[in-house]
């Protein structure tokens, strides 16, 4: 394939290669094949909480981020055994309109592809050791969301709920 399924990178994200990596045929006997791919892109939004965003700077604790992504991939495989996931997150300085995270999930049927993709982005936001500093007109601020705890069952339930399962 060339494209790793899970990555943290400073390079621009290429959704096409993620999609290709989850929709290529497998050699598995009895594989029904891919019928649906759901994808998610997170972009740097022009406006956040009323502030005019100039840029975001993303930083990651890379080895732990990759382990968190592996964990998310395992959670997806447990719940949606026919789904295949690719998940890349970018770090460094990103300007408005640039893609910070790209996720592609394939599945024989669309319900699973949508749900697993939504679940994956929720889990990224919950447990990936990645932070963004927002530079806006008039200042800058570290954005802080969830306390990362992969074993927090309530957080995981919340992610399933948002995935509509």
């Amino acid at each position: 394939m060339g494209t790793p399924q899970l990555a943290v990178t400073t390079e621009p994200l290429e959704l096409d290669s993620l999609i290709a990596s989850v929709s290529a045929p497998t050699a598995l006997d009895g594989d029904p094949g891919v019928g649906a791919v759901n994808s998610f892109l997170g972009l740097v939004r022009r406006n956040n909480l009323g502030r005019s965003v100039l840029k975001l700077e993303y930083e990651a604790y890379e080895p732990l981020a990759l382990r968190a992504f592996e964990r998310i991939a395992e959670e997806v495989a447990d719940r949606w055994p026919e789904a295949r996931l690719a998940l890349h997150h970018r770090t460094g300085v990103l300007h408005v309109g640039e893609v910070s995270v790209a996720i592609a999930v394939s599945s024989p049927h669309r319900t699973d592809a949508f749900a697993a993709c939504r679940y994956a982005i929720e889990r990224v936001k919950q447990i990936a050791p990645i932070w963004k500093r927002e530079f806006f007109e008039g200042g800058d601020v570290w954005i802080e969301g969830a306390t990362a705890d992969p074993d927090d069952a309530a957080a995981r339930e919340d992610a399933y709920r948002r995935a509509c399962v």
Partner: protein, 81 residues
């Protein structure tokens, strides 16, 4: 024993360093390392209720026992995506 402390995002800004080497008692827990860090950098106390920890690039708990040479990361609430 010696441990490496790794800090991220605003916690790194508070401490003024991404990495520190510190001495901690044998059989110390991560909690002890955190406690000593807050004693040294009081502004870090703001994260007492929200910090996550990792030991050697695996998520861990405050109760986890630390060993010589361990790499202990303190993580403010995350904001990826």
């Amino acid at each position: 024993m010696r441990v490496t402390i790794r800090l991220f995002a605003r916690l790194r800004d508070i401490v003024g360093a991404a990495e520190l080497d510190r001495t901690t008692p044998d059989d110390a827990t991560v909690q002890r390392v955190w406690h000593d860090l807050v004693a040294e950098f009081p502004d870090a106390a703001a994260y007492a209720g929200s910090v996550s920890v990792a030991v050697n690039a695996e998520y861990a708990r405050m109760e986890t026992t630390v060993r010589h040479g361990d790499d202990i990361a303190f993580l403010p609430p995350v904001s990826g995506g």
